[in-house]
Symmetry: C2
Subunit: 201 residues, 2 copies
């Protein structure tokens, strides 16, 4: 029996960008089913006593992260533009609306393409992906019908994202991307292949 | 011109174990020269406001680290025994004497083998590698002459380890293992191959 892999990602996370762009091809190669689960890292960071990304809390770690993602994006043939320190865009981006839209889209046919659109907009094109106008455009270009902001912000859908984030916390997830396969937890884009391979054991 | 790779490692670090065991074969495959530099992570952790390993400070991260190293050791064919939670051994180990001995050995012919011996003793055999008697045995079995503790603890050699640790700090290193190639910094055993490949660019 091939186990499914649950793919946990956060829209503000740079390494999640690499995995979102790579996972479909790697999963297809292996015939592994992947369940996409956006969640919010904020509560995990708060549990660690941080009020923002560890890449902001620890500047040396942050500096090397940007360079490392740049090198790896090049290796994978992905566009990447690291924000200039003087860039007015916030890092980490406020990702809650993108995650709420993704939840809707992943139940329909346009979810994965919406996710890829958001990451490319953010990390290749330098767009502000907390902006509802931008997100509406990215959802439409992925194939969403109109009224997506209203559908994403119903009490039910907000509750669903909160629940999914609590599920991630309960699964001992503390960073993104993460992959769960049965009882196994893999953390980081550099464990993507290992997680998919584990499903085949 | 092939750049040399500087390999920074800490004796208490689990991921450094994986790199210490793997780096010679990977470097040889590529014809890359590697300079081994043990250093102490303690000052880096202090700069982050931690008084011990982040794997102790953040228990979920720590729990997954042990399992991740276990999985990767299996993948690489390396023996690994993760300490039982009730294990009286300390993690992280007090690594200063091992690092001082390694500095002496790396100037002679037995340094690399001593390093490998210390990691295997610690992470495969569950030995206390802060113990001078254990370290003397591991040094001798690597080919060291007698009197190694005395030679490792001269004021000059202590100063040398302090300086090497300051050099790591100045090179923006914040974890182990790390690899520096020219101006590039790579962090983590999972970047070992990337660092060596970079030397060939």
């Amino acid at each position: 029996m091939i186990l499914p892999v649950t793919f946990w990602f956060e829209f503000a996370s740079t390494y999640s960008y690499l995995s979102v762009m790579r996972i479909d091809a790697e999963a297809e190669k292996r015939g592994v089913q992947v369940i996409w689960k956006p969640f919010l890292l904020g509560p995990m960071f708060k549990a660690h006593g941080w009020n923002t990304s560890p890449f902001v809390v620890y500047p040396k770690k942050g500096r090397n992260m940007w360079r490392d993602v740049e090198r790896r994006a090049e290796k994978y043939g992905l566009a990447f533009n690291r924000p200039d320190p003087s860039d007015p865009r916030d890092f980490p981006a406020h990702s809650v609306l993108a995650a709420r839209i993704a939840l809707v889209g992943l139940d329909e046919s346009w979810g994965k393409q919406f996710c890829r659109n958001v990451y490319v907009a953010q990390f290749a094109n330098g767009e502000d992906v907390s902006d509802p106008v931008t997100l509406t455009r990215l959802a439409k270009s992925a194939g969403a019908e109109g009224g997506i902001i209203a559908r994403a912000t119903t009490p039910d859908n907000k509750f669903r994202l909160r629940t999914q984030t609590e599920d991630a916390f309960a699964a001992n997830i503390y960073g993104a991307p993460s992959f769960t396969v049965g009882e196994e937890l893999f953390w980081g884009d550099d464990r993507l292949e290992d997680a998919l391979d584990w499903a085949l054991r």
